[in-house]
Amino acid sequence: MDGEKLKVIICSGTACFVMGGSELLLLEDELPEAWRGRVSVEAAPCLGSCKDRSCGRAPFVKVGVEDLAGATMPALLALIGRKLGETLGG
């Protein structure tokens, strides 16, 4: 069911893309087998966070309700893992 999936939205706006977002867009290929089907990966145009210094640095990714700033692939995978753990636990 889609409703149970963890929604990951990767910003593919200009600032995020040049700050490393281009790599993050390949997230789907990096997901461990066990997580597939439990995560939905989407991209979005500029989320607006890059224009607000208090949000931190690009690139930005939304994982469920949480915002990840200065995202890297390892940090993103770690956060997804945590979220999946929580979801499973709850």
Binding site: G13, T14, A15, P45, C46
Partner: protein
């Protein structure tokens, strides 16, 4: 400034078999007042010498007429300047000169080339042709068969108002005389068959481009000549096309109160529409109550993914995509066609349009000015200007820029 149609020119030629150089020449030029002048000339014989004479004739024609010498007088000057062959007593080069003004009034002077074909609504129409007689200084007595009597050369002059959809097809006698002496065509392919073939092509493909029509005419003549052309074969086509229009909207306005205006321009535009920029797309989508969906398949490493939105032919990210599209366009049409991805798709939209209108928001994106960015992002205005210049100069597109 621009006429009611977009004037597309196409030309194609093959040389006589065994010759290392073209003996026909085709040239065209856009004059400063917007007129388009083109000339097709066929030099006597074939090879380098014929090519030089044909090129000389065509360039004189294009130069004179674009510098405001009326076409009839220009033709007269060329006629008097052209040498006459002492052995065969005929002119060294034949020509067809076409002068199209910004209101699509067409003036044609023909000297010894086969008659042009004017195709309108899938039938051939024949404008009335008058004669222009020029007495030449040369001693040669031109043969009557070549259209000149005594020292007088006769050119034919016609004038007509082109309508949207019209096509003007003109060619060297390598086309009409193709196959001459063969059993199938002892007297050559012949004007009536050539006309019927051109009409057939338009019938078969009503939106055939000038380039393709010219190419297919020549290729058929080549086939009639059993693929061993006995003369240079060349064909030019002018297509008065209903312009294909493209709107490119990129960047938010500095003044947010103009968002609704931007959306209205987008909504009302008749033609294809390209949105370049996430914020731009978001503004239009919000104002029109639509959604932007990013398509995450086949992600290109160098350009952010494209999106879709109802009413838009393509939605892309802004600066990076436009920069890459500019680069592709500068590298040439084949570079564009060879690539995929959002930048190539945008570039393709540009190539497949005649009239392109940019609506450019001038708000500077603060986030792009961050010195910690690994690459320097160009200012939107500059990239747009770069794309516009290439489209105008290399691809002869009509481009309009509007900054809001």
């Amino acid at each position: 400034m621009s006429g009611p149609t977009f004037v597309e020119l196409g030309h194609y030629q093959v040389r006589k078999r065994g010759q290392g150089a073209d003996g026909d020449a085709f040239l065209s030029r856009k004059a400063s007042d917007g007129r388009i002048i083109s000339a097709l000339s066929d030099g006597l014989g074939s090879g380098v010498k014929a090519g030089v004479l044909a090129t000389l004739t065509a360039s004189m024609a294009v130069k004179f007429v674009s510098e405001d010498i009326p076409i009839r007088r220009a033709a007269g000057i060329i006629m008097k300047t052209l040498p006459v062959c002492s052995e065969r007593r005929i002119s060294y080069a034949t020509f067809t000169i076409v002068d199209i003004d910004s209101q699509d009034t067409v003036k044609v002077v023909e000297y010894d080339n086969p008659s042009y074909i004017l195709i309108r609504e899938r039938t051939q129409v024949e404008p009335i042709k008058g004669e222009i007689r020029v007495t030449r200084a040369g001693r040669g007595r031109a043969s009557a068969a070549r259209g000149a009597v005594g020292r007088e050369a006769i050119m034919r002059y016609s004038e007509f108002q082109a309508r949207p959809g019209d096509r003007l097809v003109f060619f060297s006698d390598g086309v009409t005389q193709a196959g001459m002496g063969t059993r199938a065509h002892p007297l050559g392919w012949g004007a009536p068959a050539v006309q019927a073939y051109a009409l057939g092509l338009v019938e078969e493909k009503p939106d055939i481009s000038a380039r393709e029509l010219a190419r297919r005419m020549v290729q058929e003549a080549e086939a009639v000549d059993a693929y061993a052309p006995k003369d240079d074969i060349s064909c030019a086509v002018v297509y008065f096309r209903r312009p294909r229009r493209l709107l490119v909207m990129t960047g938010p306005s500095i003044d947010p109160s103009r968002d609704a205006e931007m959306a209205a321009i987008f909504d009302r535009y008749e033609g294809r529409k390209l949105l370049c920029g996430g914020t731009t797309a978001a503004i239009v989508a919000r104002e029109l109550g639509r959604t932007v969906t990013i398509v995450l398949e086949r992600v290109a490493r160098d350009v952010p993914p494209a999106s879709t939105m109802e009413g838009a032919d393509l939605v892309t990210e802004g600066i990076i995509t436009l920069g890459k599209a500019a680069e592709l366009l500068e590298r040439g049409e084949s570079a564009v066609r060879a690539e995929r991805g959002p930048a190539a798709r945008a570039a393709e939209l540009f190539l497949d349009s005649d009239h392109i209108e940019f609506v450019v928001g001038t708000k500077i994106n603060e986030a792009h000015q961050d010195p910690s960015m690994p690459v320097e992002l160009e200012i939107r205005r500059n990239i747009v200007k770069r794309v516009a210049a290439t489209l105008r100069e290399t691809y002869l597109k009509e481009v309009e820029l509007r900054f809001i």
